[in-house]
Subunit: 552 residues, 2 copies
């Protein structure tokens, strides 16, 4: 019996054709190493995508092959995304900030056949190429005029590569479950693991992410994705913006440059943006110092790490920008929850309560099932108090890491995120910790993230970390480790007592750390997150003060 | 090799579970024959859905069975939708306004095993039941107290049926392509044809329809679906509102009652609504006469027929309500295009031009491919001028009518909508005619809809139809047929010349009808549309005036 309704596959090819035909008029504006402000339309972009697809075929690349990219957010990277995925190949976006051994592992494990490389990263690839025997050649993403001398094997210039190709291409019919892109997570232990996105997972994620309570992207929007395209497909914005015809503004290598971001926002009339807290702190610093404003920007999305209250407060009160939170991870494509428009009861809270609610991780995006479980794996109630391990499933959640021997899901088919949190009666998720960083004291869990957020709000604290260290009576107790701000008037001697006192009334009394240590620097991972593993190692022989604060 | 990403099926069961867990707090408010204002939450609703699912199983119903509904928009109909579809059965919504022979055909062709019937429609079913031999029993959607004496065979009371059932149910795992609902189109010729929606088509349609440029539904919205749930699933609003947690307000049998609608909007703080033009004219009349206002309503969607300018103008200028247009049909679940938020260039047009653009059918919703073709089936350019037959395809477009011997799609796999139109460079579709009503004059097409819209804007015209009649020189020429408003000062003798003159400057000169006839009534189909077939029959021996207006 034939299907009653069409079963049109959910592919990026379909998305591309829609964007080209229906939204072809919308613009993509890019900063690149060879052009401070490149500007063209989606229609122009997809015309060049077809030329690039012809070039890929000419290079001998076939369906199923993997193509690596070392690139920033710009129009050529956008073209590569679509030409590769819609040709049935896999677009493997590599995070150039990883350590060289990780980069080598990732390119080899991903079996990248060719690598597209940004002008600024040519030296990096030159230093790596001897370790990348499977890579057949390199394409430098630049014009003929800017093409550098390079020792890269079989190096091509992007513009020359596509110049003479026809702008028509016979796209293959793809299965919606065919892979489209590959992105590695760099855990703090073991080798990076690859997440292989499919056309279906990407299209569904994009469709869910444009909803009014999520990114809320309209044809009228101008989107500035500051989250890198090598980091979970730039949170999908390079798919969702074309889906609705929103103008895209791409900052290229200038992602953490407050001045460039401010100029792009004002000159291109950016309405919405998304990035990690570091980026927003850079922009805030620039605005506060320069006296600049960003009147067209209506909202920004913070993800990738907990959002400091200062971003929320200053962006809203000084610059009129609403701050929204997204939570997810590479294995989730990335969106799991979003804190944008909230249920009316929460929207109408008094400002202080609303600020607190607004910094939570948000409500589940349609498509994502979430549960929180206790140590026995039993689901906990959504009461805003019960805290447990967060597990997810749904059509854009990982099923199996790429070429991986271990077990990706738990025995019930859920993906364990490694995050810990609680969910309230409004479906609002609050992340309280990483499972591996949670502090178990006297049989209860203490949230290191809550303590860090409270500590970092002290005007003299630049950065704070809380780790659990062994304790004879309570199994573990929290230690607060801080970096003081440059020019802080607090002395290292008086800081501990001052900061521990600062926490009083802000967290449960028994959560207050037993001690505080001042350091000049905290260790970070390659992606900029606090490396608690290293902090715990550093304090592995720590002696608690003789009179610890009693936890009861 | 295992799938890299989860392939979680897109089912209404998933949607229901999401709505129950994440959005359970949101309300459903209903008007029913037995309660002027019933109120409960989604969580309450889905608890009763599980009781009903147990009751269906107890009645012996199985996966694949069809359940008929004769019902208005209310909470019990909502419960039936989910209990039936998520049990793997097919929810067959019947339009009670069809002719008895059509109702008999539809219930028998749909193979309805049981029928749920609203209190107000019990007499209708009593009169039909002898012709419905396959129906095993009837459930009257009411409380025990309001249960009527009835001659219906094997009649149950809804509340008694579910009363003692457990509120847990083990939902079956369904294939996403399993059928979920059935709705018949009543063409003007031949038997009605059934469109069998699937879980996948419904979930994807819902997800696409909540987007900011479509219905733009948020958890903060209060939605009043005035389009009946027996008409293409109430345009999907009974799926999309729970998907995001919007409050639902259901008018029950009071769908064309301006006073009830105004009261519901104000008392329940409705923010968005959707319905056919007739409903909005009723509401406008009530507001204009009563001096009422509807300040919470931000936008309304008009579909099902061309939107008269008076609705757009008065709703915006007098009541501050934005008017948006949706275009589609039963075979499209129903959304094909939507005219809500528009590209910036169109949003910033001068008001008169913007009004004209705002009444077009809109831009393709993501997921729907559209083409317009000439008589040779060749795709025409999107230049705003080239007019042709509109064809569609996509994951919520029909593939095969239910138990149908004919061919549903064209040879290239597109569904021919029967509508005629053009699309401009912004992707904006304008419907100019029905293919069977288009007037071919001198080798060119004349839009009967444009002529009717222009004629009906005359203050003395209550309703207007334009049909093409044979003409010795031009193959066909248009005839304008009008009903004058009650109390019109125009005499039947002077009306034709006055109205034809009225059209001058409003349409191309050669489009102006060769004659105008005044009638007291125009024929309509069972769904309230003009029956042009009957009008053409009525004027089949028409003699053109001796001095026709020259078309050149």
């Amino acid at each position: 019996m034939p299907m009653p309704m069409m079963t049109t596959p959910l592919t990026l090819t379909h998305l591309m054709r829609h964007a080209d035909q229906v939204n072809g008029f919308a613009e993509i504006v890019s900063v690149t190493a060879d052009n401070p402000r490149h500007r063209y339309t989606y229609h122009d972009a997809f015309t060049r995508v077809r030329k690039l697809a012809n070039a890929l075929a000419r290079l001998g690349l076939k369906q199923g092959d993997t193509i690596g990219t070392f690139a920033w957010n710009d129009y050529r990277h956008f073209e590569i995304y679509y030409a590769v995925s819609c040709s049935g190949m896999v677009c493997h976006t590599v995070n150039p900030r990883l350590f060289p051994e990780q980069l080598e592992y990732i390119v080899n494990h991903g079996e990248d056949q060719w690598v597209f490389v940004d002008l600024t990263m040519v030296p990096l690839l030159e230093s790596l190429q001897e370790k990348l025997p499977k890579v057949q050649g390199y394409v430098v993403m630049t014009s003929e005029a800017a093409m550098p001398d390079t020792t890269l094997r079989n190096a091509h210039c992007y513009e020359q590569l596509i110049e003479d190709e026809p702008d028509v291409f016979d796209w293959p019919d793809l299965d919606e479950n065919a892979p489209s892109a590959l992105c590695y997570t760099s855990g703090t232990t073991g080798n990076p693991k690859g997440v292989l996105y499919t056309h279906r997972s990407t299209v569904l994620h994009s469709l869910a992410s444009i909803a009014p309570d999520v990114f809320a992207i309209s044809v009228n929007d101008v989107i500035l994705p500051i989250v890198p395209m090598f980091h979970v497909n730039g949170w999908g914005l390079v798919y969702s913006a074309p889906m609705v015809g929103a103008k895209l503004v791409m900052p290229g290598p200038k992602m953490a440059d407050g001045e460039t971001l401010c100029a792009l926002i004002n000159e291109e009339k950016v309405t919405a943006s998304a990035g990690v807290p570091t980026v927003w702190l850079a922009l805030l610093n620039y605005l506060n110092q320069s006296g600049g404003t960003i009147p067209t920007l209506t909202r920004l999305t913070v993800g990738g790490a907990a959002c400091p209250m200062v971003i929320y407060e200053q962006m809203r009160s000084r610059y009129g920008v609403d701050v929204q939170i997204g939570w997810g991870m590479t294995e989730m494509n990335p969106l799991g929850t979003f804190n944008g428009r909230k249920p009316t009861a929460l929207e109408s809270l008094p400002e202080a309560d609303k600020a607190e609610v607004s910094l939570k991780a948000g409500r589940p995006v349609f498509g994502v099932d979430i549960k929180i479980t206790n140590d026995q794996g039993e689901a906990l109630p959504w009461d805003g108090k019960s805290t447990g391990a967060i597990k997810v499933r749904g059509p854009w959640i990982i099923n199996d890491y790429f070429h991986y021997d271990g077990q990706t899901l738990d025995d019930d088919g859920w993906f364990e995120t490694g995050d810990v949190g609680c969910i309230d009666e409004w479906g609002m998720l609050q992340i309280t910790d990483r499972l591996k960083d949670v502090i178990k004291s006297g049989g209860e869990w203490i949230s290191s993230i809550d303590l860090e957020n409270a500590a970092v709000n002290h005007p003299d604290v630049a950065e704070a970390a809380v780790v659990g260290l062994p304790h004879p009576k309570w199994t573990e107790r929290p230690l607060l480790v801080v970096v003081l701000k440059e020019g802080s008037s607090l002395s290292a001697a008086e800081a501990p007592a001052t900061l521990l006192r600062w926490l009083e009334g802000k967290v449960a009394k028994w959560w207050i750390p037993d001690a505080c240590e001042v350091v000049t620097e905290l260790p970070h991972t390659a992606t900029g997150k606090l490396s608690k593993k290293d902090i715990r190692a550093q304090f592995s022989n720590y002696q608690w003060p003789s009179q610890p604060v009693s936890p009861d």
